[in-house]
């Protein structure tokens, strides 16, 4: 695993701290602006916390990426858990299937530049986000 990629397992809430710090560290390394870094960190924090709430454990992978002009960070957040039955429903603001906060997916999407979610019921859910800057 190169310095441009980092893989972390999340099981308990104190692991979120480590994940967010890893994202911020990578953001600093690639020279990402503070606004973009804060937005990405917030999205990753929200998504990772959801994993801990709704599934036993998960894996977060951060990777430095680049397009023609800008550095960026890609973050994969995946869990082995019940999966999301109706992604379209989960993506609508203010709808939650359990608990008051729901999955926070629409909000996290607003904070990033690219957002991709795939879920297989009963198996795993994977969210991929990219933030440029």
């Amino acid at each position: 695993m190169s310095a441009r990629e980092k893989r972390l397992r999340i099981i308990r809430s104190s692991d979120i701290h480590v994940v967010v710090m890893a994202v911020q560290e990578m953001a600093k390394q690639i020279g990402m602006n503070t606004g973009a870094s804060a937005a990405l960190s917030t999205a990753v924090s929200e998504l990772s916390t959801n994993i801990i709430k709704y599934a036993k454990s998960g894996i977060v992978t951060t990777r430095a990426v680049r397009n023609r002009d800008q550095p960026g960070i890609e973050v994969l957040v995946q869990n082995h858990g019940p999966g999301i039955e109706d992604i379209e429903l989960a993506m609508i603001d203010n709808v939650s299937t359990s608990g008051t906060l729901g999955l926070g997916l629409p909000g996290a999407k607003r904070l990033v530049d690219e957002f991709e979610i795939s879920s297989q019921t009963g198996k795993r859910t994977r969210v991929r986000v990219v933030k440029w800057g």
């Binding site: 397009n67 002009d69 800008q70 530049d113 957002f115 991709e116 795939s118």
Partner: protein, 154 residues
């Protein structure tokens, strides 16, 4: 065994190339935030206020509030071409975020038709203050910070 992953939502708002071009356009178009007296900041918004622009403006606004430790921010929208529900929601979001930083927002430059549109569309502006003219907004802001400064002195 092959996993049949069901990809149902792929969203890519901007490609890198478009971002670079937009960034240049933003820099050309972006008006500086004016620092008035007493910790009052002011920014006129001109043209179309879409979600991408709103996000950039909010970012600049909040950073300026932190940098200047501002307690009042005036957003003048007399130059905004279209004010519909989406635009109103952007403005409401900006004022909520500023409030969380301890800064109150006044949206100035509401034309009579914009005021009517907001009411007719049933938009809840909540705690966001609005005025018709920039002048009124500045007056309100100065009165408010004047009062705050008096409280600090006593």
């Amino acid at each position: 065994m092959m996993e049949a992953a069901l990809v149902v939502d792929i969203y890519s708002r901007r490609t890198g190339e478009v971002i670079a071009q937009q960034s240049k356009a933003m820099i050309d178009m972006s008006t500086p935030i004016a620092a008035l007296w007493g910790g009052v900041l002011m920014l006129p918004i001109v043209g179309l206020l879409d979600s991408s622009r709103a996000e950039d403006i909010m970012q600049r606004m909040l950073e300026a509030i932190a940098e200047k430790q501002a307690t009042m921010f005036i957003l003048d929208i007399s130059g905004v071409s279209v004010v519909d529900t989406a635009v109103a929601n952007h403005l409401i979001r900006m004022s909520k975020a500023a409030r969380l930083m301890g800064c109150d927002t006044i949206v100035s430059g509401l034309s009579p038709s914009v005021a009517r549109t907001i009411v007719e569309l049933g938009i809840e502006v909540g705690e966001m203050q609005t005025t018709g003219t920039l002048q009124d907004a500045v007056q309100v802001a100065f009165n408010r910070v004047g009062v705050e400064q008096n409280i600090e002195r006593t």
